[in-house]
């Protein structure tokens, strides 16, 4: 039994990357502006909550985008563990970074919504918010893990395994918060979910597409920046 290992590092970036990022940025702007316009001018006002419900069109797409980022991060982590190709480490890290940013925005927009709807900045009865708090704490620890471990294969693999734990934690925590709601912390608000009228659904979908595109744009920009940093570091060290 023999072991062979080959190592490839990420390339800094091809010429076509800039135009892809620009195209994504344009698409993101278009989708977001369009989606918000639909949300504010086309979709009807909510019977119970009135105008304040419009935050829903920002809050839910941001939350769903955060989930998407965490899932992408876990997928890249799985690829790292499977192929040992080290460029997946930066990709996983960047995706999770995006997820945390959007997660923080979820908490903020959710908090604003809670204040506007029920007069409190925080409520334990709002399941999404509680779930995001748990995930936010978890992924913040991801960054602590990265900062306090020396760069190298060890840090990459530990981060990857932790990212996989995160994506498993999402449904488990969802279930936990749900059953907690029946006894411990009564849920006071439930989303309409799939019973949304068609106009609302379309508006949310467009906003969601816009948020995803925005996340993709930021992801590519940040990833390119990180790759350049890494290449610079290698160059500096080669010349030293």
């Amino acid at each position: 039994m023999s072991t062979w290992s080959r190592n490839r590092n990420g390339r800094a970036g091809k010429a076509g990357d800039a135009s892809v990022a620009a195209a994504l940025a344009v698409a993101a702007t278009g989708l977001l502006v369009g989606g918000l316009a639909l949300a504010f001018f086309w979709a009807p006002e909510d019977a119970d909550q009135g105008f304040s419900q419009k935050i829903f069109y920002i809050h839910v797409p941001i939350a769903l985008t955060a989930y998407a980022c965490f899932i992408v991060g876990a997928w890249k982590a799985l690829r790292l563990l499977g192929t040992r190709d080290r460029r997946y480490d930066l990709e996983s890290y960047t995706a999770i970074h995006m997820g945390v940013i959007f997660g923080l925005l979820t908490l903020v927009t959710g908090s604003i919504w809670a204040k506007v709807s029920w007069g409190q900045w925080w409520t334990w009865g709002e399941r999404q918010l509680v779930l995001f708090l748990i995930l936010f704490l978890f992924y913040s620890s991801y960054f602590m893990l990265r900062y306090s471990t020396d760069p190298g294969p060890r840090r990459e693999r530990n981060s990857a395994v932790y990212a996989l734990f995160g994506v498993v934690l999402i449904p488990v925590s969802f279930l936990a918060v749900r059953i907690a709601g029946t006894i411990l912390h009564p849920t006071i608000f439930t989303h309409k979910g799939a019973n949304l009228p068609g106009t609302m659904l379309v508006s949310v979908a467009v906003c969601f597409a816009g948020m995803l595109t925005l996340a993709a744009t930021l992801y590519r920009v940040e990833l390119a920046g990180k790759r350049i940093d890494a290449s610079l570091r290698e160059l500096r060290e080669l010349l030293a």
């Binding site: 704490l137 620890s141 893990l145 306090s148 530990n158 488990v172 936990a176 059953i179």
Partner: protein
């Protein structure tokens, strides 16, 4: 006994033997949990509900577990013995399983003192609470062992382990407290079982990647 089971048995036996000789971790856990319960008594103003007290028991268990987990790989760190285990031809997941069995045993032993102490200080226990504690021990030991190995690679392992551990253990606390106080503990106990199964499998499969490069 099959090769894998023999490896796990050898490793678990080694951990129990080490603790028997050094007698460092378990006495500390026992003392810590009783001290914590005493602190909780003073932290609860008069007239606090039995449910609040039960909640605090779960906090005591989580932090006692953290105390023990911080020491989980201490013997391996002393002379680099973890390298020796990783070099051996056995499956790396066997290292995790053997260590987890050891940690579970320590938790159970600590609770053999903690639960009677709780009954003495606060109020009597239900069978559902004991069952929930038993289920929770498995999940806590499983993820704790893997996270302890992860933290061992970092520069700030005493800080990192609690930070990584606490968000992951929130569902366990929800399940445990729910099973202890709810009218129908069945669903909470089932949830704890699900948590244990899911995370034990995940830990078992991914330990290899945590201890090798």
């Amino acid at each position: 006994m099959s090769g894998y089971a023999a490896d796990v048995a050898a490793l678990a036996r080694k951990d129990l033997l080490l603790e028997l000789r050094s007698r460092e971790t378990l006495p500390a856990m026992l003392l810590f949990v009783v001290s914590a319960l005493t602190v909780f008594h003073f932290a609860l103003p008069a007239g606090s509900s039995a449910r609040a007290e039960t909640g605090l028991l779960w906090i005591a268990i989580v932090f006692t577990a953290l105390l023990g987990l911080g020491r989980a790989f201490a013997a391996e760190r002393e002379q680099g013995a973890l390298d020796g285990l990783v070099l051996a031809p056995c499956d790396r997941s066997a290292i995790w399983l053997g260590k987890t069995l050891g940690v579970t045993a320590f938790l159970v032993l600590a609770e053999l003192v903690a639960l009677p102490a709780f009954a003495l200080f606060f109020h009597s226990l239900s069978w559902e609470l004991v069952a929930a504690v038993a289920l929770a021990d498995v999940g806590i030991a499983a993820i704790g062992t893997l996270l302890a190995a992860m933290a061992a690679a970092s520069r700030a392992r005493e800080l990192l382990l609690p930070l990584m551990f606490l968000p992951l253990v929130i569902p366990v606390v929800i399940g445990g407290v729910g099973a202890s106080v709810a009218a129908n503990p069945g669903s909470f106990l089932a949830f704890l079982g699900l948590y244990d199964a899911v995370f034990a499998i995940l830990c078992w499969a991914s330990f290899e990647y945590v201890v090798t490069e």
